[in-house]
Amino acid sequence: MQQLEIKNLRVAIGENEIIRDLSLSVGLGELHAVMGPNGSGKSTLAKVIAGHPDYKVTSGEVFMDGENLFELEPDERARKGLFLAFQYPSEVPGVTIANFLRAAMQARLPEGEELEATDYYAKLYEKMDLLEIDRSFTSRAVNEGFSGGEKKRCEILQMAMLDPRYAVLDETDSGLDIDALKVVANGVNSLRGPNLGVLLITHYQRLLNYIVPDFVHVMVQGRIVRSGGKELALELEEKGYDLIRDHAEEPVAA
């Protein structure tokens, strides 16, 4: 199956259950938006899919094209085609964007094969132009001293370079002004196509004005409470999360 499939996932930090029996499938070529209020577990979902060690999966699975992701290390998942754009990307002092991306691309080559530098830079510059990133950026240390907008553009630049099959974009719009938002949205849109599935996590509807989803899911208290088409986002904008929360089937745990 060509899809990223989350099946009956339960995740806890310590005693605290954050994701509670969540199921969701993102087909290749589709873009799914997951919307939800703060604390609904959206970012946890993103990190668990990518393999962050701090979270404990208590039950359920995530399959990528039929392969169980929980049997793979975070870097193996990435090499097999998973990408996570972070809400808060880490700074990597002293490591330039150019060297960082080169290491990431080198890791995807068979052992003994060296990355072709000319092709690499050609591709890098092409993607940087697309995202309106200055060339001098390549020699800056990853995310160090970056503005919010620069960090997010840098995440999308990495996505563009690494050609993932499935990308999870975690709050890619947070910290962006409207100009930066358009640039980032434009970048994401240009990468959309039949060979990319996207799980877009966002708190606000505004990003969906620029990146139009195929499906929208509402996440509250660690589970999907409603799913629908792009019009669901507009309904949410109008009524707010509270209304939808009232429709949630189970009472909220203390």
Partner: protein
């Protein structure tokens, strides 16, 4: 040596055992100036009478003073012809340089003189022994004028008594050297001792970069190095000094630096410490003229049971002076590092701006980093900050790299080299930075065995 003939030749050579370094200096240096001979004798007297350091001395707290048993070490002969050929081959580092001196076992092997234009401009770059004769007054005026105040007075005295190899550099007023000067010191034989010396005098408004390489011919032979470098930046001069220390890991090494920065001058030193079983580095920066600035940078990569011991003093003598120290250590296995550093602002040195930062990256639970930062402020209206941190690789940072498909080992390596590169980048010298990066990479590769 791989064939029988060579071995026979070796046997017929004079035996390699010469005098140990802890016997009094040899006679037969009569052609050197009298004042220098007297300095030797005085150095010898001081060395013989001063007590050995103990851990009870604050200057040797946390130090492995047992490493300083000097009885095994001796002066070695010049390397064999074959060895000399190989040393010359392995001393090719920078493509662009103004001049080069290569010493092995404290003997001069090769000299690439300065280009005509620089010699005509009055730049001097000579082996110390020759400069003592040809530029006696200039050498005498500056030779070891700063007392070793950071603990190694005894070893500075030993150096004074035994020094026979090194470089003297003088850059006259307003002369700028575009390309760096390179100096190599090699240790060749088992238990050989060397006493590398560098005296750099940069006159008013001049500009120079010097890089010293410390290397072992053999990857295991024990040895001893006791070096002194004195850097003098005259008014408005710009001096950059780089030390690339890559002795093998059975060498005991001491390096004693004194930097004097005069009015409006700037000095930047970067000391890369990779080799040695015990390697101690003392650095004194004296800011003697208003507007003087000193940048003290150091990187150590410590693994196995290596021990790096750094002691520094940023001594602000005049007002409106600035100093910035950044030392970074990466420690693996059971390695140890010690940093003891003091910022001293002397009376009247108002408006001092002094900074001191030490960061240790611990790659193993068994590694040990000791930091002792200190401030002594005797003036008003100063800005002094210092801090020392020790930590492990940040888990979130590591996760971030892994989500890009970078395997754990590679990711850790990137993070560590990035951590160290921050220091090297401050040099703002691309060719030298590339060379230092390569040395750091080689060190990490050697640890992966």
């Amino acid at each position: 040596m791989s064939n029988g003939t060579a071995v026979l030749e070796e046997v017929t050579q004079t035996p390699a055992v010469k005098s140990t370094i802890t016997s009094s200096p040899q006679e037969g240096a009569d052609d050197l100036p009298l004042w220098f001979q007297q300095q030797r004798e005085q150095g010898w007297r001081e060395f013989s009478t001063m007590p050995n350091p103990t851990r009870k001395d604050q200057a040797w707290r946390f130090s492995n003073v047992d490493a300083l048993d000097l009885s095994p070490y001796r002066f070695a002969n010049a390397p064999s012809d074959d060895e000399q050929v190989e040393i010359l081959e392995r001393s090719a580092m920078l493509n662009g340089k103004s001049g080069r001196l290569i010493f092995a076992n404290d003997q001069l092997l090769e000299r690439d003189a300065l280009p005509e234009s620089l010699r005509k401009a009055g730049v001097i770059f000579q082996p110390l022994e020759r400069a003592l004769i040809e530029h006696e007054d200039l050498v005498r005026k500056h030779f070891m004028t700063q007392p070793a105040v950071l603990g190694s007075a005894k070893f500075a005295a030993l150096h004074r008594a035994q020094v026979r190899a090194g470089a003297f550099i003088y850059v006259p007023r307003a002369v700028e050297l575009e390309l760096p000067i390179e100096i190599f010191h090699w240790l060749v034989d088992e238990n050989a001792a060397v006493f590398p010396h560098l005296l750099l005098v940069a006159d008013e408004l001049s500009k120079i970069t010097v890089i010293e390489h410390f290397r072992s011919f053999d990857q295991t032979a024990p040895g001893f190095a006791c070096g002194v470098n004195d850097l003098i930046a005259g008014r408005g001069a710009m001096v950059k000094y780089i030390c690339a220390q890559r002795w093998n890991e059975n060498v005991t090494a001491l390096q004693i630096n004194a930097t004097t920065v005069e009015r409006d001058a700037s000095a930047m030193s970067l000391n890369l410490h990779l080799g040695g079983s015990y390697s101690r580095f003392e650095s004194l920066s004296r800011l003697v003229g208003e507007g003087a600035r000193s940048d003290l940078l150091a990187v150590a990569v410590a693994h196995r049971k290596q021990e790096f011991d750094a002691r520094t003093l940023q001594d602000h003598v005049s007002p409106h002076t600035a100093s910035d120290l950044l030392y970074k250590n990466a420690l693996d296995d059971r390695a140890r590092t010690t940093f003891g550093g003091l910022i001293r602002v002397e009376p009247h040195a108002h408006f001092t701006d002094a900074y001191q930062k030490v960061r240790n990256l611990l790659l193993s639970d068994d590694a040990e980093a000791n930091s002792m930062p200190g401030l002594e402020i005797l003036a008003d209206n100063v800005r002094c900050t210092h801090g020392a941190t020790s930590g492990q690789i940040d888990e979130d940072e590591l996760f971030y790299l892994r989500t890009r498909g970078i395997p754990v080992k590679v990711a850790q390596h990137l993070i560590v080299t990035g951590f160290l590169n921050e220091v090297v980048q401050r040099l703002d010298q691309a060719a030298i930075a590339t060379h230092l990066h390569r040395l750091i990479e080689q060190k990490f590769a050697s640890g992966a065995d």
